[in-house]
C-alpha cells in the first residue's frame, strides 16, 4: 500500500532545490544577457510541462500548442502596446505601429486591453476556453490519435496565416517594441531580472499544478484514458471530459508562457507560432521523457540551450542534429532520457516512464 499513500518528502526538497537554483544561483552566475535567454527558455519549459501532461500522460499529441502560446503572447502584447500608446499620447491613443500602417481609429476589439485586469483575465480564460470548446468538439466525437494530431497541426497553420492577414495585429511583422511592463521600464536591467523571476515563478507553479494533477485520482484516470480509452468509457466515465481537462490545462500553461515570453523577448510574430515552432515544442518533451514530470522541463531547457549554442557555430549542422534527435530519441528511447535512469535502476520499464521523475 505504501507506494501510493506515501507522501514524498523528496518533493519538498526538490522544489526547494529548484527554487534555490532558479532564484538564487542563476542570477548570480549568469550575465544579464544569459539570464534573459534563460528566462526565454523557461517560457518554453512552461509550455513543455503542459505538453507532458496532455501528450505524455493523456496520449493526445498536441501539434498545435503554438496557437495557445500565440494567444497568450498576443493578448499580452496588445496590452503592452496600448499602455505604451497611452503613456505617450494619452488614454485611448492608437499604438505606434497602427499609425505607421495608416490605421487611425483604434479597432474596437483592442480597447479593453487598456485594462491590465482585463488582459490578465483574458490570458487566463480565453485560450483555456477555446481549448475547452475545441476539445469537447473533437473528443466528444472521438476524434483522436492521428486525426487529432493532424487537426491540431492544421489549426496552428491556419492560426498563423490568420494572424499574418491581420494588419491591426501587426501582420507578418507581429507586435514589437514594448517599453513598459505594467508601469515598469523594460529597458532597465533590474526590471529585466524581475521578468526572469516571474518566468521562474510561473514555471514552478506550473510544475506544482502538474504534480498535483498527476498524483490525484484524476491523474490515474488520465493515464487510464491514454492506455485504454474504451475501457474507461465502459466504466461509465465520459472520456472526452477527462481529456479536455488535460488539453485545456496544457493550453493554459502555453498561454501564460506566451504572455511572459512577450516582455522578455520583446516581439511576438506569426513566425513563432506556426506549424514548425509548434512541433519543435515537442522535441524537448520527447527527449526529456514525455510521461515524466520534470523530463519535459529539463528536455526543453536542454534543447533550446543547444539550439542557441550549436546554431551559432553550425547552422546547417544543427538542423541535422534536430532531425536526428527526433528520429533517434523517439524511435529508440520513447521514454526519453528519464527512461535511461530508470533502466539503470532496473525498475521494470513498463512503469518506469510514468513514475521515474515524480
Amino acid at each position: 500500500m505504501n507506494r501510493f499513500f506515501a507522501s514524498r518528502p523528496g518533493t519538498w526538497a526538490g522544489f526547494a532545490a529548484a527554487a534555490a537554483v532558479l532564484f538564487g544561483l542563476a542570477p548570480l552566475v549568469l550575465s544579464g544577457f544569459r539570464l534573459g535567454l534563460l528566462a526565454q527558455f523557461l517560457c518554453y519549459a512552461i509550455v513543455a510541462v503542459g505538453i507532458g501532461l496532455a501528450w505524455g500522460r493523456g496520449g493526445m499529441l498536441t501539434l498545435g500548442q503554438g496557437v495557445f502560446f500565440g494567444m497568450g503572447a498576443y493578448l499580452m502584447a496588445m496590452h503592452l502596446k496600448m499602455a505604451d500608446a497611452a503613456f505617450r499620447n494619452g488614454p485611448g491613443a492608437v499604438p505606434d505601429f497602427m499609425e505607421l500602417a495608416g490605421i487611425r481609429e483604434l479597432p474596437a476589439y483592442w480597447a479593453p486591453f487598456a485594462s491590465p485586469v482585463f488582459t490578465i483575465a483574458a490570458i487566463l480564460l480565453l485560450p483555456t476556453g477555446f481549448a475547452v470548446l475545441l476539445g469537447l468538439a473533437v473528443f466528444k466525437r472521438r476524434v483522436k490519435g492521428a486525426y487529432f494530431a493532424i487537426l491540431s497541426q492544421a489549426l496552428a497553420g491556419a492560426f498563423a496565416i490568420l494572424l499574418i492577414g491581420q494588419q491591426s495585429l501587426g501582420g507578418f511583422n507581429g507586435l514589437s517594441r514594448f517599453r513598459y511592463f505594467f508601469g515598469y521600464n523594460l529597458d532597465d536591467p533590474v526590471n529585466q531580472q524581475m521578468l526572469y523571476y516571474i518566468a521562474a515563478g510561473v514555471l514552478l507553479a506550473a510544475v506544482a499544478i502538474a504534480l498535483q494533477l498527476r498524483r490525484s485520482r484524476y491523474g490515474e484516470l488520465l493515464l487510464a484514458v491514454r492506455d485504454a480509452e474504451a475501457r474507461v468509457r465502459f466504466l461509465g466515465y465520459d472520456a472526452a471530459n477527462i481529456k479536455t481537462v488535460a488539453y485545456a490545462t496544457a493550453a493554459l500553461f502555453a498561454s501564460v508562457a506566451g504572455a511572459v515570453f512577450v516582455p522578455i523577448v520583446g516581439i511576438i510574430s506569426p513566425a513563432s507560432i506556426g506549424i514548425v515552432p509548434s512541433i519543435m515544442f515537442l522535441l524537448g518533451v520527447a527527449i526529456g521523457g514525455r510521461a515524466t514530470l520534470l523530463g519535459p522541463v529539463l528536455g526543453a531547457l536542454a534543447v533550446y540551450w543547444a539550439q542557441t549554442t550549436l546554431s551559432e557555430q553550425f547552422p546547417s549542422g544543427w538542423v541535422y542534429a534536430q532531425g536526428l534527435l527526433f528520429v533517434l530519441v523517439i524511435a529508440l528511447l520513447p521514454g526519453g532520457i528519464a527512461s535511461i535512469t530508470a533502466l539503470a535502476k532496473r525498475i521494470p520499464t513498463k512503469r518506469a516512464p510514468a513514475e521515474a521523475a515524480a
Partner: protein
Amino acid sequence: MDLLVGQLFTGLSTGSILLLAALGLSLTFGQMGVINMAHGEFIMAGCYTAYVVQQIAGDAGVSLLIALPLGFAVGGAMGLVLEALLIRHLYHRPLDTLLVTFGVGLILQQVARDVFGAPAVNVSVPPALRGGVDLLGVTVPKTRLFIMGLAIVAVTAVALVLRFTPAGRRIRAVVGNRDLAETAGISSRAVDAGTFFIGSGLAGVAGVALTLIGSTSPTTGQSYLVDAFLVVVAGGLGRIKGAVVAAVALGATQAVFETYSTASLAKVGVFIVIVVFLQLRPQGLFTLRTRSLA
C-alpha cells in the same frame, strides 16, 4: 460567367493537385495508419528528380517523360528504405511515427539544401505544355490540364491495381483485417512494404508533375503536406474514393473562399469547414465499418 467557369475549373485543378499529393498518403496513412510527415519531402525528391533529369536529358519534353517513372522509382525507393529502417518497427506507435518521420523530413530538407543549394531551381516546362487552351471562355493552362489528366490516370491505376492484381487483393485483405489476412497466409510485412513503395512512389510522381506549375526548392514539399493530410482525414481512412471527393471538395471550397474573400481567409475557412465536417462524420466521408474496439 467567365469567372464562374474559371472558379469551377480552378476548384478542379486545385483539387487534382491536392489529390496527387494526397493519393500516396491515403494509401500509407489509410491502410497502415502510418502518418508519414516525410511524404512532403518525397514530393520534393520528385521535384529534384525532374530537375536532375532535365539537366542531363536537356529536352524538357523527353525529360518529363523520363522523370515521371523515375520519380516514382525514387520516391518509392525512399519509401522502402524508410519503411524498412524505421516505420516497420513503430507500427504500434502511430503518433511516434509522425514525429520520427518529421525528423526524417527535416534531414531530407537539409540534404536538399546542401546538395542543390537553398535557392529555388528552375525546371523548364516542355513547349508542348506551354500556353493555354480556351475552354468555355476561359484560358486554361495546358500544364493544369496535364496535371488533371495525370491525377485521373494515377487514381485509376491505383484503383485497378487494388482491385485486379493479386498484390492489390492482398493489400485490401490486410486493410480489411490484418490478423485474418495473416492467418490466411498473407505476409502483412511484405504487403506493408509494397503499400509504402506505391504510396511513396506516388509522392515522387506528384513532385515531378508539380514542377510544371510551382517552384522547386527544399521546402516545396512542406507547402503541400498539411493540405494533403486534411484531404485524407476528410476523405476517411483507406478509401481512395473518399480522397478523390475530399480533394475536389477542398479545392472548390478554397477557390470559392478565395474569390469572395482573401487567400489567407480561405485557408482558415477550409480548416473550419473540416472541423465542422468532422463533427458530422468523425470518421471521414467514407468509412470501412468493421467490428472494432472503438
